[in-house]
Subunit: 158 residues, 3 copies
């Protein structure tokens, strides 16, 4: 059983894989943070999606808090944009980490992507004037394509 466990954990001993694990975890935690920011704005703006969520007043009264709010919707769009971009990064990044890239090249990809997505969230929520958000989105997008290119070059089997 110990030998078996050793085989499984050998993946986590590889430096490229550890770098992937670190940045993938950080960026997934960042995405999870969006749920808390949404909840914060829903309470502060008193704008809820479900009648049972309204924390004050009678149920008669609750209906007027079932509304959309521009700030809440902004956070939700930012969260959905994370899903649309971090899911491909997680998936393609995992396959990339297994395709044997140079450590320095891999670190460059992971760091730029993580930085770009953190900037994207800041640009979305502040909001910063364009093209701030657009550029940070594009940088993450190009990094993911670059990893996909390496993956397909290494592993293509149609």
């Amino acid at each position: 059983r110990i030998a078996e466990m050793a085989k499984v954990t050998q993946l986590i001993d590889n430096e490229v894989f550890r770098a992937y694990v670190t940045y993938a975890t950080i960026i997934l935690l960042k995405m999870m943070l969006m749920s808390c920011i949404t909840a914060y704005y829903r309470i502060r703006r008193k704008a809820f999606a479900n009648p049972e969520d309204v924390p004050f007043g009678k149920s008669e009264n609750a209906k007027k808090f079932l509304r959309t709010d521009t700030d809440v919707e902004r956070v939700r769009r930012s969260h959905l944009n994370d899903l649309e971009n971090i899911v491909p990064f997680f998936g393609i990044g995992l396959l990339y980490a297994l395709s044997g890239p140079e450590l320095s090249t891999a670190l460059l990809h992971f760091r730029i992507f993580a930085g770009a997505r953190i900037l994207h969230t800041i640009a979305y929520l502040t909001p910063l004037p364009q093209p701030g958000r657009g550029l940070s989105w594009a940088v993450g997008y190009v990094v993911t394509f670059s990893m996909a290119y390496k993956v397909l070059k290494t592993a293509l089997y149609l």
Copy 2:
């Protein structure tokens, strides 16, 4: 080729990894079920998103069925909440399973998460009064953070 296959499948022989595989698959299947529940409510409530989906009446008539319905929107929010929470569980959980946790600890994490998300769906669709849904969401969230902590403690490479 058989030796090669043996190396790949050795991952699936590890008990922690098998436990991860089992619970990750169950919870992804639960998420997929939301598509069917949405379709069921769309047909029952006659509330469709696309003109070509309306299964009755002429195209003139179809327009009045292009509407939102509170029950359909509730199922859709539940589905999106699954995406927002099950994606991080799948990703962080995979890295956690590779980081060599104790089998009993890992099983505890996977079972609590799967149970919490099933309760979350029941609480959302019934709907149960708060804080039922809020608590089930928070439990799944904390479990994912706990796994992320173990992952970063084991593999951190910035």
Copy 3:
């Protein structure tokens, strides 16, 4: 370090895993393409979600371009449907590729899923009359269930 890297990259030498990597990457890239199609329609239809995104006119003027457009919303629903279906495929497919299926069976699953999702996007955006889109959705759904069945049969550990 070279021996270590060899162990990590042995996964990518396995034919089933290479097939998975290829189709998973292709289908994630297809999903990423939806972001560009959304941006294209937002600019063409002059329908934006954020005031800072409106690329013309004064900020006074910008408000009238903050609107929803049926074509933009159609692309967005198609993108969300991709997320709802490609995330389970990526996750369950990864576990399936590690569960030691026959190469020919695995290729059949991956090819049918990728084809079905490409047809789904074409059917959604054209739009083609139903049941074109419904069938292509169902085919991808059944393929994912079939892989989940194999995964649970191989690895079940509750």
